[in-house]
């Protein structure tokens, strides 16, 4: 479903990411782990079409993001690590704006907006301006908006930042549910215990290069196993 083929990004001749190759299958939750500045966000930005790769290809559902960006974006949902939103819109307006960009018809847009807003627990504030939202509410709204187009692939950058324990549990359940429905999920995070709990495979990135890929069997046995692996390969 998601395929990265030798992708790299250079800024002024210096490589931030180089030679990244891996794939995420349907129903799989792949975690990309790495220390700060390792290149996780750059990788995600290339996967979502925000950055143009200097080399290599990103293919989602058989479409190259650089050649068919609209087709790829129509199939993808993206949850960024920041919560920059349109402050002067309400949650409902923001969702309907996105639905219109994804060219959903009004009935579908209304149904999905209402359903996602309820699922993510934003019903009480759905008609308030986003400027009054807490960080956790914004994060929930970002997740809800990423699912407005019923995506086949979901790309998430640091999913649990600012969420309270209820929010974390909710997102974990939703991610598991999406996987069970065949959605390919790519997740970049610092949180090793969440990756350990959720991911079927993890990749470890350091200084822009993928230095290890571990299967669930390799880290699921003992608590803290993934942390040991991470420390070992990145030190």
């Amino acid at each position: 479903m998601i395929e990265l083929n030798n992708i790299g990004k250079a800024y002024g001749g210096k490589w931030a990411v180089k030679g990244l190759t891996f794939s995420v299958e349907e129903g799989e939750l792949f975690g990309l782990l790495g220390p700060n500045g390792a290149g996780k966000t750059t990788t995600i930005r290339m996967m979502t079409g925000l950055f143009r790769p200097t080399e290599g290809r990103v293919v989602i559902n058989g479409c190259d993001i650089m050649k068919e960006p609209i087709a790829v974006k129509s199939l993808t949902g993206y949850v960024p690590d920041n919560s920059f939103l349109y402050e002067k819109l309400t949650a409902v307006e923001f969702m309907s704006f996105l639905a219109s960009l994804y060219k959903l018809d009004k009935t579908t847009a209304l149904a999905r907006t209402e359903s996602l807003i309820e699922i993510f627990g934003l019903g009480d504030v759905k008609d308030n301006l986003i400027e009054g939202y807490s960080h956790g509410m914004r994060q929930r709204l970002l997740f809800a908006s990423a699912l407005i187009n019923n995506p086949g692939a979901l790309i998430i950058d640091e999913p649990f930042v600012g969420l309270d324990p209820y929010g974390v549990r909710l997102i974990k359940e939703i991610l598991r549910d999406l996987c069970s429905r065949g959605v390919a999920i790519f997740l970049a995070t610092h949180s090793l215990h969440l990756a350990e709990e959720l991911c079927s495979r993890v990749g470890i990135i350091k200084q822009g290069s993928l230095i290890a890929i571990k299967e669930r069997e390799e880290f699921a046995g003992a608590k803290g196993a993934l942390e040991d692996i991470f420390i070992e390969v990145t030190s």
Binding site: Y78, L85, E93, L101, K103, D127, G132
Partner: protein, 540 residues
């Protein structure tokens, strides 16, 4: 002082040679403007000096009116800026939870407010007062004393304005208060302008009528700081002995105003911030499901954000006032009398009108169209990650800017044409030209704005005064002036041929065709090329 460290460090880190070079582009314009003010003031004061007795009285009354207006302007400006710096700044949210003394924070914001409210106005005062000094042949002491006396004069409306705003925010919602103040300020300016314009029309150049009106407008209240400053200045200009009461009043009142502002800050600031945070949480609910039509989503979103951001739509007041002034000005031009002076008066007026409208379109585009890509801000990722072609994104931005602006400009040109009363062909000619300029200048603004976007900004007006915006305005001015000049020359040939009855010669006919081709090519290039480059930039 610790609170100023981020500001000092930001300035230190941003002042590079490149930055200085960029900013120095503004220097010739500033100097030209300074010279223009000096020259105008010098001519006027020199002329008044030639009139016995009444000339000096009028000069001093003009000074008095100017200082009263300045005092009022500084007061309103400080009140508006207090709301922005104390209550709407992003910095406050970061500083309030820190172990910062609220008194220190209040002092820091007080200095920031007074500086922001006064520096621009004060920077244009030197040429005016140098003109007074030169005409009245004052000594060196005048130029030393003046800045010293202006300091307390600026601090008085600063301290009082800040104090009043703290109280207003205690009573009224923050954004509505700011809108009300902006509307009041714009209304006052419009009133002053229309009063002066009306006086100029009614006086018909009669110096006695003008002098009488100036003396009538003068406010002699000894309770106003403008009166105290005027008394100090007048005594130096006339070489009279100084009365120390007035400097004393200026300095003691400024100290009192600062104390008032400081105490007001200590009493109201924290409580007001708590009130604002509460009101943000309970912001107005909007429950209708308005679904934006496909293809119009970006315009729908932009219009909602625009009309919910008081800082944006309140500027429409100022624009509407300026357009009213512009149309009103045409009513006062004696077109018929001018026709007696030159047979081309109608054509000249039409071309001047088109040129002025072109310049207005440029200014509006710099504010609303050049900034329209940057205004997406850090939320631009939403558009980039959505299945929207950047070409369509730019197109909707263009439609959103160009359509209303063209509609307004065509309305203005139709109205002004009604006043000037040109022949049929000239009427349509001016309308078509304005439409061409609206399209090309909007395209240019959007294209350059997309090439030089600034997604991280504190205030959107920062973008419209950026070097990129300045470059846009220079190019747009050039296009307007070339377009109007070539059209003016073509019209001249056409009118000449009609008047003589000999028809156009082949060379003249070819000249008109060539001018038309140049105008069309230039405007098409201004529209297309920057948009193409801008599209490439945002796609990358």
């Amino acid at each position: 002082m610790t609170l100023f460290f981020p500001l000092f460090l930001s300035i230190k880190n941003s002042v590079t040679w490149k930055y200085i070079l960029k900013k120095s582009l503004l220097l010739p314009f500033t100097l030209a403007f300074w010279f223009f003010i000096y020259w105008g003031a010098f001519k006027l004061l020199s002329f008044l000096n030639t009139i016995d007795i009444i000339g000096d009285m009028v000069s001093m009354s003009l000074l008095s009116i100017f200082l009263v207006s300045l005092l009022g302007f500084l007061l309103i400006s400080n009140m508006i800026n207090t709301i922005s710096t104390f209550y709407m700044s992003k910095e406050i949210g970061m500083l309030m939870p820190l172990p910062v003394d609220k008194g220190d924070l209040s002092v820091m914001k007080m200095i920031e407010t007074i500086f922001k409210s006064s520096w621009m106005v004060l920077s244009f005062l030197p040429p005016l007062f140098i003109a007074y000094g030169v005409v009245y042949n004052t000594g060196f002491f005048y130029y030393v004393l003046l800045p010293v006396m202006f300091l307390p004069f600026v601090l008085i409306p600063g301290g009082i304005g800040i104090f009043i705003s703290h109280i207003l925010i205690r009573i009224f919602p923050v954004k509505q208060t700011r809108n009300l103040l902006i509307a009041t300020g714009s209304g006052l300016l419009l009133f002053i302008y229309l009063s002066l314009q009306s006086l100029a029309t009614e006086s018909q150049g009669n110096i006695d009528v003008i002098a009488g009106a100036v003396l009538l407008f003068d406010i002699h209240s000894p309770f106003l700081p403008s009166y105290w400053l005027k008394e100090v200045i007048v005594r130096i200009l006339h070489g009279n002995r100084q009365d120390y009461l007035y400097p004393l009043l200026l300095f003691s009142s400024s100290a009192f105003a600062l104390l008032l502002s400081f105490e007001g800050g200590k009493i109201f600031f924290s409580a007001n911030i708590e009130k604002i945070v509460e009101s943000d949480k309970n912001s107005e609910k909007r429950s209708l499901f308005n679904y934006p039509p496909t293809g119009m989503a970006i315009i729908w979103k932009d219009s909602k954000i625009f009309f919910r951001d008081a800082g944006q739509w309140s500027q429409l007041f100022i624009i509407a006032s300026l357009i009213m002034i512009y149309v009103y000005n045409f009513k006062t031009i004696p077109v018929k009398a001018l026709t007696d002076l030159t047979p081309y008066a109608g054509e000249i007026m039409i071309m001047l009108n088109v040129m002025m409208l072109g310049l207005i379109v440029t200014a509006l585009s710099a504010r609303f169209v050049f900034t329209s890509v940057s205004i997406e801000g850090r939320a631009f990722w939403i558009i980039k990650a959505s299945p929207v072609k950047m070409r369509n994104f730019l197109f909707t931005k263009f439609i959103a800017g160009a359509c209303p602006m063209t509609a307004v400009m065509v309305t203005v040109v139709v109205l002004t044409n009604e006043i000037i009363g040109p022949e049929g062909i000239l009427k349509y000619f001016s309308i078509v030209t304005v439409i061409i300029l609206c399209v090309s200048i909007n395209g240019l603004a959007l294209g350059l704005g997309a090439q030089m976007p600034k997604f991280k900004y504190e205030n959107i007006t920062d973008i419209s005064i950026s070097p990129g915006s300045l470059l846009f305005m220079l190019i747009a001015f050039f296009i307007v002036i070339i377009t109007v000049s070539l059209q003016g020359w073509s019209l001249y040939l056409y009118k000449e041929a009609l008047t003589t009855g000999q028809g156009l010669r082949i060379a003249e006919f070819m000249g008109i065709i060539l001018c038309s081709v140049i105008i069309i090519m230039m405007n098409m290039t201004a529209f297309y090329l920057p948009l193409k480059k801008g599209l490439q930039k945002i796609e990358e």
